[in-house]
Every structure is written in C-alpha cells, then in structure tokens.
C-alpha cells in the first residue's frame, strides 16, 4: 500500500511541478475554443430547447480537456521514464501490478479533474448553469478521466519512442475527443455520422457529463454510464494484464 501511495504522490508531484504546462495551458486552450466558437455560433444554434449553444459547449470542452490531459499524464510519464531509463527504479521495488497501475491511473484522474475544474471556472461566466445532477457530473468526470488515464498507461507501455506515442495521441485520442459531440449535438448529424458517434466512448462521457449539468442529453445517462464504465473495466483489465505479464517492461 505504501508503495502505491508513494508512486501516486510522485506522479502528482511530477505534473504539479510543471503545472503551467500541464494544467494552466489546457485551461487557456479551452477558453480560446469557448471564446471563438461562442462568438461564431451563438446566434445560429440552439443545441437543446432552452440551452444556448454557449452554455452547451462548456461541459463538452471541459470533458474534452479532461480526457486529453488524463491521457497525456500517464502516457507521457511512462514514456519519459522508459526512454530515460529511470523506470528501472519502479521495476526493482516490490510494487504489484495493481499498485503500479492504480498510481498512474489515479494521478491521471487528478490531473484531468484539475484541468476540468479550471476549464469550468474560467468558462462558467458564458452561462453555465449549476449542475442539475451534481453526482452524475462527478461520476462521469472521474470515470472519463479514468478511461483515458488507463488508455494512457497502455499507450505509454506500448510505445517505444515519442513518435509512436504522438501517433497514438494524434490519430486516436484527438479524433475520438474531437468527434464526440463536443461542439455539436449528435442529433444534428447525418445518419451515418450519427451511428459512428455511437461507437465512440468519448461521446458517452461527454453526453453523460452534459446530462449532469442540463438534465437533458442525446442519450440516457444510464446508457452512457454503462458504456463508459464498461470501457473502464475492459481497459483496466488489459492494462493490468500488460503490467503483470511484463509486456515491454520486463524482458
């Protein structure tokens, strides 16, 4: 247990020491999106009845930033440790696979939540209502960051160089997060893209998170919960198995 707590704390210290880059920067980016899109689109679109586009956009942007940063936290920490070689100091001690995984994954959640809180804070004045279901908000925030943090662990273990990790990030994580209904309600999409969106777990994270704020969403929050929760369990199982088997960590 002490081993887990130590690694968890080290992972927090790691991103907190460079918080300008790991927390403040993504918050600023989200604010830019909010400013630009709400300026361009606010008069044209009403996502849900009674919900302005500007308000609609906020939870989506927050969740997208949370997801991207949760992924970035575990994946970049692992790849840096692997490339500099100091991962050996984590492989020599008696840490179990579960301790190792949980420390990276939970630190990712903390970073994601810090970014998410920052985004909500700086964008709230665009008209975000108080959450109508705060527990749903919290649940989807934690689970969403958990899924992406776990995906980050898997990518960090799999990638052997920064290039491969960047490919994972740019060709998988970015499309998943951008094409997830952050900027639009998927009900406005043509049938094909509507169906494609339903294959994207990030869509369900955002939709569920949004439900927590507005009490309405594209799909039922229970469906979203089962997809996001199911993804979390599946990916966690995969990550644990990789760590336990020593895949690309122990030769």
């Amino acid at each position: 247990m002490q081993g887990f707590l130590t690694l968890f704390r080290k992972e927090l210290v790691r991103f907190w020491k460079v918080a300008f880059q790991t927390v403040a920067a993504p918050v600023l980016t989200a604010l830019m999106y909010q400013l630009i899109f709400s300026h361009v689109l606010s008069r044209h679109v009403e996502a849900y009845p009674g919900v302005s586009y500007t308000a609609f956009l906020i939870p989506g942007l927050a969740m997208m930033s949370m997801a991207q940063n949760a992924f970035a936290n575990s994946s970049s920490s692992l790849i840096q440790s692997k490339i500099t070689g100091n991962i050996v100091f984590l492989l020599l001690p008696p840490l179990t696979a579960l301790e190792f995984f949980a420390a990276y994954m939970l630190a990712s959640i903390v970073r994601g939540m810090a970014v998410g809180a920052g985004v909500l804070l700086v964008t709230a004045w665009f008209g975000l209502p108080l959450p109508s279901h705060p527990l749903w908000v919290l649940l989807f925030a934690i689970l969403g960051c958990g899924v992406l943090g776990t995906l980050g662990v898997i990518a960090g273990i799999w990638a052997e160089k920064f290039d491969q990790l960047a490919a994972f990030q740019n060709f998988l994580i970015m499309p998943l997060t951008f094409l997830s209904g952050v900027f639009y309600s998927i009900n406005s999409l043509p049938p094909f893209w509507y169906a494609v969106s339903h294959a994207n777990p990030v869509f369900f994270m955002i939709d569920g998170f949004r439900y927590g704020f507005f009490g309405q969403a594209d799909v039922s929050p229970w469906l979203s919960l089962s997809v996001v929760g199911g993804s979390f369990i599946l990916l966690s199982g995969l990550a644990l198995w990789l760590i336990k088997s020593g895949y690309k960590l122990r030769h």
Binding site: K17, N86, F89, L91, P93
Partner: protein, 300 residues
C-alpha cells in the same frame, strides 16, 4: 542458513542470441562475489534475471530463499541493484529521489538512514540539489544510495565504476567493503580485473552466456601458478620439451611449468640439444591473464 543467491540452470534467449545458457551459481551470505566476462557475455542479463527485470526461459533464481518470480515481493526486498546505465529522474532532488525510492519499498520515515547514506557517500551537501545538476560520478553515488534505501542483505553492482574517476572508485570500494564487512552479500561485475582481484573472494566467469569458471579467487589464481616462461631460442624446440609448449608469440615460445623450480630441467634439455637461449621472460600470472586465457578458449 540458506544461500544468499541461488541460480539454478537459468537459460535465456533473445531471438537468435543465447544470452544465458544453463547457468547455475550459488552465492553464500557474506560473500564478495565477482561476475566477470567480456561485453555480451550475459552478465547484465543474469543480473536482470535476479532483479526480475527480465524473465528466464527456464531455470529458477532465489534471493535469500525467495523465488524472484513466485515470491517477488520478498525477493526484491532482499535485493539492492545498482544498474549499469546512468539513470535518474530529472524532476527530483537527491533527497526526494531517496525518499520516493524508500516509499516504493514500503518504508516511511527513513530519513535517518537516508542521512547516513548521504554522508557515507559524500552526498550530504548535495541533498537538495536536483539530479540534473550533478556530475556523472555524483549521479552514480545517488544510484548506489537508491539501491540501499531498504537495507537489502544482498547487493548487486553492475559495473559501478565504469567511466568513474579514480577518487570515486576508491571511495566507492571502501564503502562497499564496509557493507560487506557488516554482513551484506555483494555481487559485482566489473571490467577492471584488479578490482575483482583486490575485493572478491569468489569469481564466476561467463562467456557467451555460459559459465566457464566458478571458483574462489585464490584457486583461480592457483591455476595460474603454473608459471609461463617465454624463450627466444636460436634453434628449434627440442622434442622432449614439446609437451610443455603453450603457444608461440612474437617469435617467442611460451612453455608451461607447474613449478618455477623446473626451469632448471628445461634449460638442461636445451643445453643438451645444443639450443642457446637468447632471451627469457617469466610471465607473472594475475587474474587478467587467467581471464584472457579462458576467454580465448584455454582451460584452467
């Protein structure tokens, strides 16, 4: 009390390379043990297998009686490893590094021991300096301290003095000798054979993944007590001396003598055959010549 390290029939293959081939070594508690061999002989692979960093294809390894795979927690608690590569976490200071490392081993409030390590390794005034700002030698000392945060009974140093200045080498060996005297079992790999000769009680030699020698240092050197004498002669070597011939180098014939006292007989045989001696050298045997001899296929 059981063995400190018990390596049983360990084999490991990386693709076409047989990195370890049926290696068995037992190291007793309190030994100062050297693992020698040229680059690529399998030393680091063997150490990695002991530390759980690599997994043998077959065979088993126990550290202080704990299997490194089945009972990995107890095995790793018993083992401190100083890896060969100079690695560090650029985000942390020396003290943070050692505190985190203690925590990974489940230890809190380890500061007294950390302070002792810092002072013994000459790092006390660097405690709050970021690792990035330290010289290579200082980083190496931090790695030694990291390997010792959990006071492991067995310590493995993989070429700890490679690329390290003379002063650090001396102070490092003094420190490691103290640890050994305090009861720690020490295993080291080194390229500096004089270090192994000066420090170790027992030596294993690896060559292309195979164990080619495993003996006490004295016994290994004893093999070399058979003196070698190089002659430059003005004629061919008499037939009676042929069985003693080991090799020829630079126009000199090297003969093996079980005892230096037999030199007299050799000279007599040469006189009898009418061959004059132009030059004569007695070759001193040290670990290096035993090592070179073995690595070139010779038998001891």
């Amino acid at each position: 009390m059981g063995s400190a390290i018990e390596i049983k029939a360990v084999s490991k293959r990386y693709g076409a390379l047989q990195a370890l081939d049926d290696v068995s070594i037992t190291v007793e508690p309190g030994e100062f043990f050297a693992l020698l061999g040229p680059n690529g002989a399998g030393k680091t692979t063997l150490i990695s297998a002991m530390a759980g960093l690599s997994r043998p294809d077959s065979g088993s390894i126990q550290i202080m009686g704990h299997d490194v795979i089945r009972d990995f927690r107890a095995a790793r608690m018993s083992l401190g490893v100083v890896p060969q590569e100079l690695v560090f976490d650029p985000f942390l200071s020396v003290r943070e590094t050692l505190r985190f490392q203690s925590g990974y081993f489940g230890l809190t409030r380890n500061d007294d021991w950390i302070d002792e390590l810092l002072s013994k390794l000459g790092l006390a005034d660097k405690a709050n300096v970021n690792l990035r700002a330290l010289s290579g030698g200082m980083k190496r000392r931090v790695m030694v301290a990291q390997a010792l945060v959990h006071r492991p009974p067995v310590m493995v140093l993989d070429e700890p003095t490679a690329g390290v200045d003379v002063e650090l080498r001396q102070s490092l060996w003094t420190f490691v000798k103290e640890l050994n005297e305090a009861g720690h079992t020490i295993v080291l790999t080194t390229h500096y054979l004089e270090e192994a000769e000066a420090l170790c009680n027992r030596i294993a030699m690896l060559k292309r993944g195979k164990l080619v020698a495993l003996e006490s240092k004295d016994k290994l050197l004893q093999h070399g007590k058979e003196r070698e004498v190089a002659f430059k002669l003005n004629g061919p070597l008499p037939d009676t001396l042929l069985p003693r011939k080991v090799r020829e180098e630079d126009g000199r014939i090297v003969l093996k003598l079980p005892d230096i006292a037999q030199l007299e007989q050799v000279l007599a045989a040469l006189r009898e055959a009418g061959v004059a001696v132009r030059e004569l050298n007695v070759i001193e045997v040290d670990l290096e010549s035993v090592f070179v001899n073995m690595m070139h296929g010779g038998q001891v």
